[in-house]
């Protein structure tokens, strides 16, 4: 169909223009943030606007980092994200596997209960979760930060859907060979579920790195905060010193941007998968 291909080719020009302009608008805030992070405060506030800094002022980064407990918060954020991700990947795939493939009393009732809780907005539960963490003496601690996020209903649901889609043959072959349930799960099924697992891991990691409301509530001392909360209080204290704020907030996003560009296909297909199945 040469004519059809030709017609598409012609109108694709419009698509390039729209996607190009739109794509530029999507990344413009990042580019401006990068540029402003090297400016003086006067340059940021100048009218007419200047798009590029006069000099590259690296000291905005140095001074920004040293004016709040950046390294403590970076460590907190990394530990928080890694623990949550590892824990959710393990527990969600175990529970998801059991709900998909094992038989136990009240299985369907239990699963239906989990699904109905998934509908409840998490915000409603904050006061009570805060109480529990407070009673456990875990405020301002990593234990308190990670506790509610060690398991995930969404993740369990997603992994269940994933295991339901896997073939049963290898599992049965494992049984015939005399493998126990733990061996079958860790040696056979989990490796098969790797695309689902990595999707869940990427989603959980990104979500944890940017998590805001729960860390805001649990951690009140700045050395116990995560970066997402830290930047908000930093911004509050240094209301108008924009270059440093831009520098620090770019540094906070840098690991996510690098991770995303490196794992682009996996992140996108993982989120699409989670979106369709979740």
């Amino acid at each position: 169909m040469p004519s059809r291909a030709g017609a598409r080719q012609g109108s694709n020009l419009a698509a390039y223009v729209v996607l190009g302009v739109g794509g530029f608008m999507m990344v413009f805030p990042f580019l401006y943030q990068l540029s402003a992070s090297f400016m003086t405060n006067a340059e940021v506030q100048s009218i007419p606007k200047q798009l590029l800094p006069g000099d590259l002022r690296w000291d905005n980064y140095v001074n920004g980092i040293s004016s709040f407990p950046f390294w403590d918060q970076l460590r907190n954020t990394a530990v928080f994200s890694v623990i949550r991700t590892a824990s959710q990947v393990l527990f969600c795939s175990m529970a998801g596997y059991a709900f998909a493939r094992m038989r136990f009393p009240l299985k369907n009732v239990t699963f239906a209960l989990l699904l109905s809780i998934l509908m409840i907005p998490g915000e409603l539960l904050l006061i009570s979760q805060y109480q529990i963490v407070q009673n456990l003496g875990w405020l301002n601690s990593m234990a308190g930060l990670v506790a509610p996020g060690l398991v995930s209903l969404f993740g369990t649901f997603m992994m269940r859907q994933f295991f339901l889609g896997l073939p049963k043959e290898l599992e049965e072959a494992g049984r015939i060979d005399g493998a126990g349930p733990a061996t079958i799960f860790f040696r056979i099924m989990l490796p098969l579920a790797l695309p689902g697992v990595s999707a869940l891991a990427v989603i959980t990691f990104i979500d944890s790195w940017g998590a805001f409301l729960w860390p805001l509530i649990v951690a009140s001392r700045s050395e116990d905060m995560t970066l997402a909360v830290g930047i908000a209080s930093f911004t509050g204290e240094h209301q108008t010193f924009y270059p440093q704020i831009m520098a620090v907030s770019l540094l906070i996003m840098l690991p996510m941007i690098v991770l995303f560009i490196a794992l682009q296909r996996r992140v996108i297909s993982g989120l699409a998968f989670a979106g369709m199945k979740g």
Binding site: M26, F30, M102, M119, P121, L124, L125, I257
Partner: protein, 315 residues
């Protein structure tokens, strides 16, 4: 592997008597499944199920200054329904949701462009549109605050070039909620485009060929083939965006701020909840706000599922 032996015996060997007795005992997989689900059930029980019930209880209590709660019946609810702040917060939340939902047709259009056959640089475009999805809300909202600044922000500067005097975006009620909603679109557009792209790729090519043979124009193909077959994805996004919009908090907190003079006029339901529960420690009242939020989200989702029969086509 006694379990699986019995399991196979059920279908393969009804003859062996031992298998029959074992089959009865092993209708279930024993304790193993419980080991697999125990961590999740424990976590969910402690941090989700119990708090759900407790939140209902809290909503009927008054919080003492030194902890401890007093049962006050429905007083929190009567107070809440008489509170003008509730209507303002609800109105802002609905406005935010409307802006968020307006991003969906935009995503449909862009996803359509991105999925044209023969389009080059597709993965580059995908990265550009997707980048805002993976970033940290707390870190991107600072640059948006700067872009929206009324005196030296980029947006008002651009408007001034074409002779428009832009408002103080984040300090003007109503305008501020719309401004934050635009950032909400910016952060979710890429995700929506990916979901819609997956839906578009599932539409078989021969449907377009058949439509073309029937003499359908590109626009008619869009209206009669693409959009109807895309409605399940659009429906999914509508439900997710509406739920997300009703829960919006961080962008409002970060961009408008709890110290802003207009926060009372620009707050959303979750911000209202947060301010009562964690800023003034009126936790019983906050719990009642939470319950009302739950009921609103449930109602909106229910209505959407009821309406889906009218417009969603499943293949």
């Amino acid at each position: 592997m006694t379990v699986s032996t019995a399991d196979r015996a059920r279908s393969a060997a009804p003859a062996r008597p031992t298998a029959t007795t074992r089959r009865r005992r092993n209708r279930y997989d024993g304790v193993t499944p419980w080991v697999f689900v125990a961590p999740t059930l424990a976590g969910v029980g402690l941090f989700y199920v119990w708090p759900t019930f407790q939140s209902f209880y809290f909503s009927f209590t008054e919080w003492g200054a030194f902890g401890g709660t007093t049962w006050i019946g429905t007083a929190n609810y009567t107070r809440l329904f008489a509170d003008p702040e509730l209507l303002v917060a609800l109105g802002n939340t609905v406005l935010y949701a409307v802006v968020a939902l307006a991003g969906i047709p935009l995503a449909v259009w862009l996803a359509g462009l991105l999925n044209r056959p023969g389009l080059r640089f597709r993965s580059l475009f995908r990265v550009l549109f997707f980048l805002p999805v993976v970033t940290v809300p707390a870190a991107v909202s600072v640059v948006w605050k700067l872009l929206y600044n009324g005196d030296y922000g980029m947006i008002n500067y651009a408007l001034s070039i074409v002779g428009i005097d832009g408002p103080y975006w984040l300090q003007t009620p109503v305008v501020a909620v719309v401004a934050v909603g635009i950032v909400g679109i910016w952060t979710s557009l890429g995700f929506n485009m990916i979901i819609l792209g997956a839906g578009l790729q599932a539409i078989p090519d021969d449907l377009y060929e058949a439509a073309e043979l029937d003499g359908a124009s590109r626009f008619q193909q869009l209206v009669h083939v693409t959009v109807p077959l895309l409605t399940p994805s659009i429906f999914f996004l509508t439900v997710m965006s509406a739920i997300g919009a009703f829960k919006v908090f961080d962008l409002i907190f970060l961009m408008i701020g709890n110290t802003s003079p207009v926060i009372k006029q620009t707050q959303t339901l979750v911000f209202f909840f947060y301010s009562k529960g964690f800023m003034v420690n009126d936790k019983g009242y906050a719990a009642a706000i939470g319950i009302v939020l739950l009921l609103i989200i449930a109602a909106v989702t229910f209505v959407q599922f009821r309406l889906q029969r009218r417009w969603v086509h499943y293949a």
